[in-house]
């Protein structure tokens, strides 16, 4: 009877372990499945296409080139490898510039009329580039479809423009977002590290038990404050402060985000680093003191080197926390998806992008897939961070066992 009971308990434990593992794997699978969907697709919106005159020698254009053409940064076909013809832009609405309303009467219902009229326009203008619905194309004998380069890893990671809903081609360059994330996170760690380490040393080595018993819960409380509250605090206090100190037009900058993130990463850094410092054996510290080393010499020559792997783990965990943080960063960094040149510019991080845009992206659209691809990047970064921590703390355990 007892045996059966134990077997049942064992089974339940095993089942819950399996279910948890499966759930995690399922989430990862889902994330990557959706994210990978972005690649290999044409960056134009579904149902639309780009066409030119049949005699135009240009067959293929990159997303950047199309964007520059439609933004009127490129005016002549010879700039993209074609004839010396000036480029004429054509969108559906422009049909009314070529024909009178009488000529287009009944066009709303007569698809054939619409198609033939568009075809006519394309035929008459050698330099035209038309952004049109793909439904009209098959019957158009005078127009030629432009092949647009599909979204690949290169344009995804190297692209400097993030315009996920731009017309006629969306641009999915994560480079500015990646840079924004790294700048904000790394600066946050640079700010948090000295404070965190100093507090950890103070709490582990210097503070009296009374002071420590007050300080420790307060710092741990810092970890429990919801991030939206940090964001609110940042918006009300830090943003105006940064704006005033640096005389900026806006206070929502990468620096503001870094300061908030630094405060948020402090509890992690302090708690883990303090544990590591306290893990230095008493006997080793005593040996140092017994040789005539002062307390301070003992701390920086013995205790901190001994705890260095733990301190590194603390810092990396802090980075992990900073990289994944969403709400507070979304509220205070200004969210401009441009490659940052200075920390005093608005920046946008990957998590903030996902949070801000997922609500507007239609399920299954390119934008939606792109946001999942961002999620994959975030997942990979976090995984690297965690593996690093594991490697370092694994080394620590080995050292202690020796």
């Amino acid at each position: 009877m007892k045996k059966i009971f134990e077997k049942v308990i064992e089974g339940i434990l095993m089942l819950s372990g399996t279910v948890t593992t499966l759930t995690v794997l399922l989430i990862i699978f889902f994330l990557f499945k959706e994210g990978i969907g972005l690649f290999g697709k044409s960056p134009t919106e579904e149902g639309f296409t780009v066409a030119v005159n049949r005699e135009n020698p240009v067959n293929e254009l990159s997303t950047d080139q199309i964007k520059n053409i439609f933004d009127q940064n490129i005016h002549n076909w010879n700039e993209v490898g074609g004839n010396n013809d000036s480029i004429i832009l054509f969108r559906m609405d422009d049909l009314f510039n070529y024909y009178t309303e009488e000529e287009l009467a009944g066009i709303d219902t007569n698809m054939n009329l619409l198609t033939s009229k568009i075809d006519e326009v394309i035929d008459k203008n050698k330099g035209i580039i038309a952004f049109i619905s793909s439904k009209e194309i098959p019957q158009n004998p005078n127009s030629k479809l432009i092949h647009i380069k599909a979204i690949g890893l290169g344009s995804f990671f190297g692209g400097k423009e993030w315009f996920p809903t731009a017309q006629p081609v969306a641009q999915f360059g994560v480079y500015p977002l990646l840079m924004g994330t790294l700048w904000v996170s790394l600066l946050a760690i640079l700010i948090a590290l000295p404070f965190g380490l100093a507090t950890a040393v103070y709490m582990a080595e210097i503070a009296s038990p009374g002071v420590r018993s007050v300080l420790k819960p307060v710092i741990e409380l810092l970890a429990g404050i919801p991030s939206v509250v940090y964001g609110f605090f940042g918006l009300i206090v830090v943003v105006p402060l940064v704006q005033q100190i640096f005389a900026l037009p806006v206070g929502e900058t990468g620096l503001t985000g870094s300061i908030i993130l630094a405060i948020m990463a402090l509890p992690t850094i302090i708690t883990v680093a303090e544990d590591a410092i306290r893990g230095t054996p008493r006997s080793v510290k005593e040996a140092s003191l017994a040789l005539g080393a002062s307390q301070w010499q003992t701390i920086y020559r013995i205790t901190i080197p001994y705890a260095s792997s733990g301190i590194t783990a603390a810092v990396i965990l802090g980075i992990g926390r900073a990289i994944g943080e969403t709400m507070a960063v979304l509220m205070v960094t200004g969210n401009a998806a441009v490659v940052p040149h200075s920390i005093l510019e608005p920046m946008r991080t990957i998590p903030a992008t996902i949070a801000a845009e997922l609500g507007e992206a239609a399920k299954g659209s390119l934008h939606y897939d792109a946001l999942f691809a961002l999620g994959c990047i975030l997942f990979i970064i976090t995984m690297i961070v965690n593996l690093t921590v594991q490697m370092i703390s694994g080394k620590r355990t080995r050292n202690k066992l020796r």
Partner: protein
């Protein structure tokens, strides 16, 4: 000359040492014996003020090292600990190379002359009878050598800062018999230059290495005399019972 005068020590309200007066003879080995919790380690640690690290310690009376009460106000504790070296129960080398372990005491005491450091490290390792075993591996981690070698490394480390007194807190209790005998031989050599106080649980060891022996019981110094006398004709019955193994 080191000496304790009417020394009382309290951990909070618990009195760990009870009115101890004892003159430790110079350049000889004095063993402190007694059952666990009798205060012998606590007594040993009053000479380099290692007890200061424990919260709630209160000390009355005097401990004289080099004609000075170490518990007087304004005493430079770091300097005292440089003069009174200590070897601990378990080998506790630093997570550094063998060389840096020995050099540590010099470096923290402001010695920058690398030549002098090198020379002192070599001398200290020779004094600790470890030089021949490690001279080719000075850059190796101190964790890479055996426990007995580590303990001799700790002795070399203590000797490098040129103390006059060496406190040893059960230095061989964590070692195998061969390593133990090496440490004992070493103690025999070192007493020519240093005043050595050694705490030990091992009666044979006390009899082998020490010139004088002090028997502690319940925080009091019961008897202090030449080792030969303590082990053959002790004055107190308690001492007699302990050294013959009737309790302890």
């Amino acid at each position: 000359m080191i000496e304790a005068k009417n020394l009382n020590l309290f951990y909070g309200t618990f009195q760990a040492l009870n009115d101890i007066s004892m003159k430790v003879p110079e350049k000889s080995v004095t063993a402190l014996i007694g059952p666990s919790g009798c205060g012998k380690s606590t007594f040993l640690r009053t000479f380099n003020r290692m007890n200061d690290l424990i919260p709630g310690v209160k000390i009355e009376g005097e401990v004289i090292v080099d004609d000075m009460n170490v518990y007087e106000k304004g005493v430079d504790v770091d300097n005292l600990r440089k003069r009174v070296g200590m070897v601990f129960q378990k080998p506790n080398p630093f997570a550094k190379s063998i060389f840096e372990n020995v050099a540590y005491g010099l470096r923290v005491n402001g010695v920058n002359d690398e030549k002098l450091i090198k020379q002192t490290v070599e001398e200290s390792l020779k004094q600790a009878a470890l030089w021949d075993e490690v001279k080719d591996n000075l850059k190796k981690s101190a964790y890479a050598i055996s426990g007995g070698q580590q303990q001799r490394l700790c002795i070399a480390r203590a000797l490098a800062v040129e103390p006059t007194v060496l406190l040893m807190d059960e230095p061989a209790s964590a070692l195998d018999p061969i390593s133990t005998s090496k440490i004992e031989e070493l103690i025999h050599e070192l007493k020519k230059k240093y005043t050595i106080l050694i705490v030990t649980h091992n009666m044979q060891q006390a009899a082998r290495v020490s010139d004088h022996t002090a028997f502690f019981y319940m925080g009091s110094l019961v008897e202090f005399d030449e080792t030969k006398t303590i082990f053959t004709h002790p004055v107190k019955q308690q001492t007699q019972n302990y050294v013959t193994g009737r309790f302890g």
